[in-house]
């Protein structure tokens, strides 16, 4: 089962251009449909979830129709086949993310991974006097689990603030590091501002011997090369559905030495060795953190997604999205009354662009865009504190994917220019 896709399968880094994107779009049948009285769909909500190519859907379907069974139990032929497929998928996905198979804990997604991390770290010991460091830029899934951990254990929660440009204000880092935190949990790329965290700066800080550095990488691997072993973090959380794979599956990546230190989070079947009426012993990682029946089909789909991405080349996808992001930023920059909540240049920035349209509530903006077939996210995007830090309560978020086109970017810019006039705002 080490039939790994090569990490770079494309033709030597040639630019991912419009013609190729047009061909790739044919792999995503949903992109061809119409919505709202026949308007062609313009899908600009890939930060919420990416659409799935036919190869992912087919891989899941084929597996479900021919090989589905529970894994890691049962010795029958089907169980064996399913286990091989599941473990093969683990190996493929881990390789894609720059990790060893034993460093990939299968979870229900990023939220599942971070909650698993919080409980596993608690099992290993967190208490009064411990410090948990987060940032003001976090998605609720990398904030609330740590708030809860702090409240269960008596640990203190502190955070790195967000500056006006939407980037983390790293000025406080040295002081926080000097306090020797137990946990440092940060986002790699904000799902609101699109700002990419300076991971070399953060991961490279001497946080002390007890610190477990946790990265919310949800918005990263679908949009660029991610190599876990080079990130400088102990744990990282990802979701398949933000990288063209199925929902309901994700991973907690962890270096062997750190996973070994952590206690179980969820408990139950599959993660134990010996169980008596009063006691249990636990499997080594990653199984220690994989209680219950595993999402087998979803893992098979996820492996198909990384094959699809590998064949295109993540570096090419990243370059293409950077080009489109520049076009989008330039376009919205020219629309009166529209403010970008986040960095205005493409340096260390993803294709997630959140906007404040002066005088019009994001729900109303979204409704207007929707009437033209344009799908964007409106609201607080599960990140209320960062909105508060930027002086708004909600925003309109445009986010790109590998299938996004210049015409789509131009269409949303044009539509945004019509929003304030429609709502009678000067």
């Amino acid at each position: 089962m080490t039939d790994l896709p090569p990490r770079v399968a494309h033709d030597g880094g040639a630019r991912l251009g419009c013609d190729e994107v047009a061909r790739l779009r044919a792999d995503f049948p949903v992109l061809g449909r119409c919505v709202r009285d026949g308007k062609p769909l313009i899908y600009l909500d890939s930060a919420a979830t990416t659409q799935r190519p036919r190869s992912v859907i087919d891989a899941v379907r084929e597996f479900d129709l021919g090989s589905y069974a529970a894994v890691h139990r049962g010795a029958h032929a089907l169980a064996e086949e399913a286990t091989l497929a599941f473990e093969g998928a683990r190996t493929s996905v881990a390789a894609f993310l720059g990790a060893e198979p034993g460093e990939l804990v299968v979870t229900t997604g990023t939220t599942g991974a971070i909650n698993t991390a919080a409980f596993a770290i608690e099992s290993a010991g967190v208490g009064v006097g411990d410090l948990i460091v987060v940032t003001e830029a976090e998605h609720h899934s990398n904030l609330v689990p740590w708030q809860r951990l702090a409240s269960r254990t008596g640990a203190e929660l502190a955070w790195i603030p967000v500056g006006e440009d939407g980037r983390l204000d790293l000025g406080v880092v040295d002081d926080l590091a000097a306090r020797r935190p137990r946990v440092v949990a940060v986002t790699g790329a904000s799902n609101v501002t699109g700002a990419c965290t300076d991971l070399a700066a953060l991961g490279g800080v001497d946080w002390g011997p007890r610190a477990i550095r946790v990265l919310d990488a949800a918005q990263m691997p679908g949009h660029g090369v991610v190599c876990f072993r080079d990130l400088g973090f102990d744990l990282a959380a990802v979701s398949a559905h933000k990288m063209y794979g199925p929902t309901g599956v994700g991973a907690l990546l962890g270096s062997q030495s750190v996973l070994e230190q952590l206690g179980p989070a969820w408990t139950g079947g599959s993660m134990v060795e010996m169980v008596t009426m009063t006691q249990a012993t636990f499997q080594p990682p990653p199984q220690r953190f994989e209680a219950g029946t595993q999402p087998v089909s979803q893992m098979v789909g996820w492996a198909a997604a990384v094959r699809y991405l590998t064949a295109i080349g993540m570096d090419r996808i990243a370059a293409r999205e950077a080009e489109l992001t520049a076009r989008l930023l330039e376009g919205v920059g020219g629309v009166a009354g529209v403010r970008v909540l986040g960095p205005l240049d493409t340096r260390d920035r993803s294709g997630v662009v959140s906007l404040d349209v002066s005088g019009v509530h994001p729900h109303d903006v979204g409704q207007f865009l929707d009437s033209l077939g344009i799908a964007v996210r409106v609201g607080h995007h599960c990140a209320q504190p960062v909105h508060r830090a930027l002086g708004v309560h909600a925003s309109t978020r445009v986010s790109l994917g590998l299938y996004s086109t210049k015409a789509e970017v131009d269409a949303v810019v044009k539509a945004l220019a019509q929003v304030r006039p429609f709502f009678g705002v000067a």
Partner: protein, 173 residues
Amino acid sequence: MGSAGGMEQLYQQLIMDHAKDPSHKGLGESFDGESFQVNPMCGDQVRLQVQLRGQTPGQASDAIVLNGLAWDGRGCSISQASVSMMSELVAGRSAREIARLEETFMALMRSRGEGLTDPEEEEALGDALAFEGVSRYPARIKCALLGWMALKDALAKAEVGDASPAAIPEGWE
């Protein structure tokens, strides 16, 4: 122009007018019941206060009358206009009448663009019928209901004599 028509059907002039210049907005000094409601999807919020007349324990709900209503909040045109129109509609009515109006408004929201069938019910809602278009967009129904939820909650509190301020988390703005 189907979808542009859809937009105009949703954002009727009446709704736009109420959103721009809402009624009963601005909190008062005292209240018998207060509610703070948030739409978890977008963080939109309304704080709504009621003053009653005739609320004594065990009193029948048609003897309890909404004497005063004040609110403050933020949100989209739909949510803001809905609280505003609701405030005008329910002022001076009995708790029983308000409960019936709320049911009628809920029925309108559940109608999936079909509207109400009973002309009497339509008449009872008055201007709030303008929200019929919202029922075609399931994601927006919560916006239109935010104020109604706050009113229901504030009335329930007032009726049991709970005049405590609604609780909100530390750091919330």
